[in-house]
Symmetry: C2
Subunit: 694 residues, 2 copies
């Protein structure tokens, strides 16, 4: 059996390298495409420089944070260095650093290729949807392949070198903590720019989106890259690593043989292979529908994955059909959540149209109806997650003690198996969004803009679905991390000669105490991020007003008059840098406070409260945001009075409220949940030794 595991280590490296090679091929392919339009090139350079500046400043801050965290880890984790084995502490600190570095590299390269693809996509759009789609999609795929390759490579390397799955939690924490801040920073940047550009441009002046007169327009395009490409990439890198890590921690605690560990790697490998095949076969007809093209590659990947894993289950000794079933259930829930999200956010469905109709009566109704439907939209997804967790548990329970939780963790792994495809689709969004902006600014004409618009709208639809996907995946992962936490805490309790924890009883006041506080944290976390955007955007709006007042001819669009784009990029950058740390740090500190006050039992409750309210808020915010966005687009397409009507103005206000919901707070919450879970598992022995009550 150990041989089998070695085989899978080998295959992990091999497939990761294949993914990298394929990504390199796609990168070079994209680079070969021509750009000729001078204006577009100029603007594209501005976007690239803006993105690079922000990333450099962001990573500088994050490097400092990571350095401090690495020292703390070195001294204290998995147990205080003066008590345990110092080598373990070194391994933990190194794997933490490896997690942060790989995450940063994936983000950095993703930005590189995205800011390369945008201009090329814009120019290709002159020739039609087909060539433009391919450039946008392949540019996104580079990011997808890199992220999944890095996570597979990293997890396999850490486990092979240390043989200790708990060190993996350090690696995963590295990935998550970086993701937390990158998502927060990128999310604040992008929405600061987007909101300010919309409010001053669309609402006040009535100029179109991406109008070059708008001083915030370049910052807006930079934001798409740093928020959606780098941020989302870091987020899914983190989810993927966390899902694998928690499955591996549980797998190692199960039994002597290596089959379960092998199975985790096998599923991850086949998921990556399936994604490669899905990406390679992605096509669109000459006048094809880009949304359908994106979705059908996802379905292809899903089917390939299920077939391949079924084959592996037949082929390898010790692989279980029950586990395969759990993984399949995970994927299924992903689909359910995607469909739900689609129902609530698609403008051909009734909900979006109802919100658009409500906008006729004024912005308050846009906001109220959007909030209401967003809250309702959480129900089906939460029922889906609840049923899938129950099903995976019950499926795998007969395999023996501990397998039930392993089943849940494999449901998460199954759901995330096609993550390569998901990220590709996701990174496609900001590329074509940028392309649309470039087409507008480069004056490529009505028809090209319309083609770019269609590509962009497909990106929005798919983005809503992938967001739901990553929230659900985080939900399942964190449930299994709760299991991982319990086993880590029990190991520490056993060492201390104390009574083990068998249950987290909600009637226990310590657990209940944790639950209530845990439930409040995602609320505070998301509020802090939204306030970050709110404060920042107020500053930027002021700056835009100043430019319109001070620069003669800007408002009228006089030939040759240009706004000072750089000032807006500056405001977004410094604001985001300032605000990216506090919210994440608050969550980590709250975890530590609860742990040091109430001990492991309180932390069990804390994690539960955190998951529950985190899922609720994340689903609510993401879906409300998507809903408002599309109901604005629905009105812009001519319904309920169309562009410029009172309904449109109200819808723009709704969209502005939704922007930080869906692109800053909502999708950051799942990272927050993961980070908190990992911190708890990592610090479990500290909570056992040093808690106030217990």
């Amino acid at each position: 059996m150990e041989q089998q595991l070695s085989l899978f280590y080998g295959l992990s490296f091999l497939v990761a390298v294949i993914a990298f090679a394929f990504a390199a091929y796609l990168y070079l392919w994209v680079k070969r495409q021509k750009t000729t339009n001078a204006t577009i090139q100029e603007v594209a350079v501005l976007i690239r420089q803006g993105a690079n500046t922000f990333m450099r400043r962001e990573y500088k801050v994050l490097a400092k944070f990571a350095a401090v965290a690495a020292v703390v880890i070195l001294v204290l984790l998995p147990s205080p260095i003066w008590q345990g084995e110092p080598l373990k502490n070194v391994a933990m600190a190194l794997s933490y650093i490896a997690g942060t570095v790989l995450s940063a590299i994936a983000g950095k390269i993703g930005i590189m290729v995205a800011t390369l693809s945008n201009a090329r996509t814009a120019e290709a759009a002159q020739k039609g949807i087909k060539p433009a789609f391919l450039i946008g999609f392949r540019g996104g795929a580079v990011m997808g392949l890199l992220v999944v390759g890095c996570s597979l490579l990293g997890v396999a390397a850490v486990l092979m070198l240390t043989g200790d799955s708990s060190i993996l939690l350090g690696f995963s924490f590295g990935a998550s903590s970086l993701a937390l801040f990158a998502k927060a920073g990128g999310g604040i940047f992008t929405k600061t720019a987007d909101v300010s550009a919309d409010l001053t441009g669309k609402v006040e002046l009535g100029i179109p989106e991406d109008d070059p007169r708008n001083p915030a327009v370049i910052a807006d395009n930079v934001g798409d890259n740093v928020g959606d490409v780098a941020g989302m990439g870091a987020d899914l890198f983190d989810s993927n690593v966390a899902a694998m890590a928690s499955a591996l921690v549980i797998a190692q605690s199960l039994s002597g043989d290596f089959a379960n560990t092998s199975m985790v790697f096998c599923y991850a490998i086949l998921g990556l292979l399936a994604s490669i095949l899905g990406i390679a076969t992605a096509r669109i007809g000459k006048n094809g529908n880009p949304t359908r093209a994106l979705n059908s590659s996802t379905y292809v990947t899903t089917v390939i994955f299920l077939v391949l894993t079924a084959g592996a289950t037949l082929l390898f000794e010790g692989f279980s059909w029950r586990i395969w079933g759990a993984a399949a259930v995970g994927l299924l829930v992903g689909v359910i959540i995607g469909v739900t999200t689609d129902y609530f956010t698609d403008d051909t469905k009734p909900i979006v149209q109802r919100v658009a109709r409500a906008s006729r009566t004024g912005p308050a109704f846009t906001v109220l109806s959007g909030i209401s439907y967003g809250l309702i939209s959480a129900l089906p997804a939460m029922v889906g997650i609840a049923i899938s967790a129950l099903a995976a548990y019950k499926l795998c329970e007969p395999m023996g003690p501990g397998y039930a939780i392993f089943g849940i963790s494999m449901a998460a792994v199954g759901m995330l198996s096609i993550v390569g495809m998901i990220i590709s689709n996701d990174a496609y969004g900001p590329i074509v969004d940028n392309a649309r902006g470039l087409a507008e600014m480069g004056g490529l004409g009505e028809e090209t803009i319309r083609a770019a618009d269609e590509l962009d709208s497909a990106g929005n639809t798919v983005k809503a679905i992938t967001k739901g996907f990553s929230i659900a995946a985080a939900g399942l992962t964190v449930i299994s991390l709760l299991g991982a936490f319990m086993s880590e805490a029990n190991a520490a309790l056993a060492e201390a000669g104390r009574e083990l924890i068998n249950v987290f009883d909600i009637m226990s006041p310590t657990v209940f105490f944790g639950i209530l506080i845990g439930a409040a944290i995602p609320a505070v976390f998301s509020a802090m991020l939204i306030l970050g955007v709110d404060k920042n955007a107020q500053r930027m709006v002021k700056e835009i007003h100043r430019q319109f007042d001070d620069i003669p001819g800007l408002r009228e669009g006089k030939e040759g008059v240009k706004p000072e784009y750089g000032k807006c990029i500056d405001i977004a950058t410094s604001g985001a840098i300032k605000e990216l740390i506090p919210a994440g740090l608050m969550s980590i500190l709250a975890t530590l406070v609860v742990g040091f006050v109430g001990g492991p039992e309180a932390i069990g409750g804390f994690l539960l409260g955190n998951i529950v309210s985190g899922l609720l808020l994340a689903l609510f915010m993401s879906n409300s945001g998507g809903l408002w966005d599309n109901s604005k687009k629905y009105i812009e397409a001519g319904s309920e009075g169309g562009k410029g009507s009172e309904a449109h103005k109200a819808a723009v206000i709704g969209d502005t409220v939704g922007d930080p919901f869906k692109d800053t707070a909502g999708p950051s919450i799942n990272t927050q949940i993961t980070v908190v879970s990992l911190v708890s598992s990592l610090a479990s022995s500290l909570f056992v030794w040093f808690s106030l009550f217990q």
Copy 2:
């Protein structure tokens, strides 16, 4: 010991009668005050008629619901009539009906006196704040005394007659189910009218609040009565009964002696006595501050209660200082939550001012910052509830098995002990709000309006605090109801010869399943109510526009031209009647589905999820709403550009979003939580016998 209990039964009746007599005295006192202004009398009649019409139609629907529910209870609860003792079923059904009837009576009389006091308060305001305050306050006190008297009388009668505390759950369910619908119906009515009046009057036409040209102005004043007087009264009647009932259920399960049961009654009696004394001594100086007057009577009541209960603890055998401590902790948390609410919603504090400043940049920022601070405001309250539950538990744990949960229930009883005072303060609000409207419509002049404004503003501040109070009380009550549910479920399990439930383990997939679904219910519930207001208000806004277009001279305020007030009252009434059932029914049905699918364990989780997300959402919505309301008032008082500025328009939109948050959804959630908990306890034996999995 049984003698001691009989003593407390007797005292309960006596003190209830004293409360009724005092209420009658105050009622007659209010009635003796003069009204002379013809316009005011005319409008007051319109308001009274509108309120009565709505109440009649609402109670007709509720009577049907209650009849159906009573039959279901008769057949099925506490156990199917063909299985158990039919007499118990009859007692349960009767006490259910008694609960609904008492709740309805309290609401009805409250409305009667409130619609009597408003005109008298308005006219008294001509002579200054002092006499007007006294009429408003005493009018409200009638409601407060009635509600608490009815609940004490009802609970004592049911328990004395049946000797079975589980029958009390039926009484409590009667009170809660009526409260659920009354709160929802009243909340939808009041906010439909308020929102529509504000949007058309303040925002579109720029006419002042309560301008008689506005067709929705009478409906708005009717709404204050049916929403805030009747709805809030039913709500607090329900909370008070539920707190007593759950404490009594647990007390009866504890030990042979009657001391604990006596103690519950004793605390309730002394609470009512303290409230009577607090009300009787309420005074205000000639130019005194009404907020301070209201708050100081609350403090007086609190101190009297603590002293009296300490005396009782010394005096009576079997009364414990630990229990006294738990009750005191409950009161303390009430204070903490009040202070928090005040910090987040008072316009002399930074938060409200920050939101006002954000309004300068547009309504999206008003909404975003209000939502953010609302989310943050949930943290201190939840920490407070968590700590108080933990403290009450730990305080009473050494008294023996079961006492820990009894401690928590007594914390809830303690918190609600001063509920008579709370309701008086609360009902004061709509009376002076109405009075302000009447002063405006009756043309009583600037100075009178200013006095009425000051009285009104005090009502708003106090209302925010009492809302936090009732949410926290519901939180603690429901925790103890969770304990009550467990003991009811175990009784049924024991009868079925099945294994008892000792813990609700969050790692159990059935419990977890319940938790996730339970957490989604308050979100869906509140969304349904908000959508009710949203839809209804859209209809009313259309009607108002129609009147302004169709009635010549109305817009210009031509002498003698009057809007058709009745049409607006009609729309609010029929809309509220249509929407008041579905949301509540959904919560009850969801509970039954989860119970019949997952059995008692799933219900345990369901209740927990429900409490946690319910508390979070209720606190968030109530506080955001209060925050927006006061930030609008802050701007109207001249800051950030004052009335008519862009900031003011944005703040009005924020307030409109906040209206259904704070007066429809937010304060209904605690009733929803209570109802769901009671349904679970009542139906526990059904879940044991007929669940799909288990």
